[in-house]
């Protein structure tokens, strides 16, 4: 598939790759929200972790890892860039269509942007749940 320059750039120089510790580390930390969406069988798994400053309520840092195609990697890389410095509500306002537009994703890759939006919502929901805040949100993978 011939990709646009922005996808290639995020794929070749992904921003904010990593995590804030192992699965069990981050589970125990109240300032971290984790979203793990997709499934290996579907060819896409995104893990998005947000670190929230509990005084200001701002997303201080965000990190991702992604098993998926170039568009999936670019979508999750972009999501981490956009999340930094935002409030949780501002984070929830990020829509997949904005990601599609920014990266010029081809039609067959729109599901990658949907997955990135799911990852954002799921990470924010996880943070809220840990901190006893109201959650209206979605399903994420669970590690047993």
């Amino acid at each position: 598939m011939a990709y646009g320059p922005k996808i290639i750039d995020h794929y070749e120089n992904p921003r904010n790759v990593g995590n804030f510790g192992t699965q069990s580390d981050v589970k125990a930390r109240k300032d971290i929200g984790v979203g793990l969406v997709g499934a290996p069988e579907c060819g896409d798994v995104m893990q998005l972790q947000i670190k929230v400053n509990q005084d200001t309520g701002l997303i201080e840092d965000a990190k991702f890892k992604c098993f998926g195609c170039g568009s999936a990697i670019a979508s999750s890389s972009l999501a981490t860039e956009w999340l930094k410095g935002k409030t949780l509500d501002e984070g929830l306002a990020i829509k997949n269509t904005q990601i599609v537009q920014e990266l010029s994703l081809p039609p067959v890759k729109i599901h990658c942007s949907v997955l990135a939006e799911d990852a954002i919502r799921s990470a924010i929901a996880d943070y809220r749940k840990k901190n006893g805040l109201p959650v209206d949100e979605p399903s994420s993978a669970s590690v047993h």
């Binding site: 069988e41 890892k65 195609c69 999936a72």
Partner: protein, 413 residues
């Protein structure tokens, strides 16, 4: 000499034309341009002589008589003519009789050019059994025998698989079919020109082959149709001027046929040396990659396979992103993201390769001009890229933390 990029390792998709093939074809565009059907002037006779020579070259490559070669547009057409043509002619009960028209045996990991004609026949009232290979990808004579019924009229099993390169038990399946008086067709697109073929010894009745998989031109192929013991008859699928003994009417593609003939002649002379060399290079590629990376597997039987095709799954890395990382290497992937259907490879799934590993696979196929230097570069690029992508992969982290990925409840879409 410095390495020229990109490197072509997709010879199972198509091969470049051998320059000797192009040279043989050229006069037939401009000088010897006649229609071989023109029986009463020199232009027609010369074109016919070119076609006759090519027919003999193709026949010699597979141990057939030249009267048994029907030129077509390629393997897809050859497969359609063989499967549908035989089914319509050997049917046990006519359409509309309400009874099954006849039973056909094939396998689920055949090429679509075999599966789709079989599925059409199924809709038209034939019964079709789709055999499932074992984990090694191989269809055995025993599997075919177990599926045979009194009303079985046709067995169609490919000689070597296009995605994984595994070799089915063609001579044994052929012998079985002859014993049971069932017509045996094999799609030998990936086999012919690479491996020795003898339709007599191998007991094949119908065989499809293609020019562009063996360093010939695209748009030309052939169907071998056995003439004696048994004499195989087919119902033509196209009506017209009676060319190719009525099996395939239409003015002959003289340039393509001449090219196919030349490609067959070269293959016959050089296949043994090519096979030895490519086997060594493929082995080196596989050994280097699997030696340096954990959680990596070669798909399909390790020995019973073509010398030049390998299919490798890289755990925790997705195929399309891997292909982006090795963009200087042209190859194929079983990943859904590289196909129009968004489904991972049905061939790998048929071997019991999980969807996750099917998404993570590369098919690398070597050819006549593949060099050791190219293989070294490729192995190195793949190892580096897989390592880099695993740093990005949440699944590889989880794997290293000892989490069993099959026990995770994934949020499905």
């Amino acid at each position: 000499m410095s390495l020229k990029l990109p490197i072509y390792l997709d010879h199972a998709a198509t091969t470049p034309c051998d320059p000797r093939v192009v040279e043989a074809m050229l006069p037939f565009f401009t000088e010897t341009f006649g229609n071989p059907g023109s029986r009463n002037h020199r232009f027609g006779w010369e074109a016919e002589a070119g076609v006759d020579a090519a027919r003999e070259q193709v026949a010699q490559l597979i141990g057939a008589d030249e009267k048994e070669i029907v030129f077509t547009s390629g393997s897809t057409e050859s497969n359609n003519l063989a499967i549908k043509g035989a089914a319509y002619l050997y049917e046990k009960n006519p359409a509309g009789s309400g009874k099954p028209r006849g039973h056909i045996i094939t396998a689920i990991h055949e090429h679509k050019a075999v599966l789709d004609p079989c599925k059409r026949l199924q809709k038209e009232g034939f019964d079709v059994t789709f055999l499932e290979p074992g984990r090694d990808g191989i269809i055995t004579a025993e599997m075919v025998e177990a599926a045979m019924r009194d009303d079985t009229i046709l067995v169609t099993v490919m000689w070597a698989n296009n995605e994984i390169g595994t070799i089915n038990e063609v001579p044994r399946i052929g012998a079985l079919c002859h014993r049971r008086e069932v017509i045996f067709h094999t799609d030998a697109t990936q086999w012919v020109g690479k491996m020795p073929t003898d339709v007599e010894k191998d007991q094949v009745d119908l065989l499809s082959l293609s020019g562009h998989k063996m360093y010939g031109p695209k748009g030309v192929g052939a169907l071998y149709v056995r003439r004696r013991r048994p004499r195989v008859r087919l119902q033509a699928l196209v009506d017209g001027g009676g060319q190719e003994r009525g099996f395939r009417p239409g003015t002959l593609n003289v340039t393509g046929i001449v090219g196919l003939g030349k490609a067959a002649q070269i293959a016959r002379a050089e296949m043994d040396a090519d096979a030895d060399r490519l086997f060594r290079l493929r082995k080196k590629l596989e050994d280097t990659i699997t030696g340096q990376l954990d959680s990596t597997q070669v798909n399909g039987h390790r020995e019973r396979r073509l010398p030049h095709i390998t299919n490798i799954s890289f755990g925790f890395v997705e195929g399309e992103s891997l292909m982006m990382a090795i963009k200087e290497i042209a190859c194929s992937s079983g990943s859904a993201c590289t196909s129009a259907s968004l489904e991972p490879s049905y061939v790998l799934k048929s071997l019991g390769v999980g969807d996750d590993l099917a998404h993570s696979s590369l098919r690398l196929s070597l050819g006549r001009w593949t060099t050791e230097e190219q293989i070294d570069y490729t192995a190195d690029a793949i190892v580096k890229s897989v390592r880099k992508l695993r740093l990005l992969s949440p699944l590889y982290d989880m794997h290293k933390e000892g989490i069993d990925l099959s026990k995770v409840q994934w949020a499905q879409h």
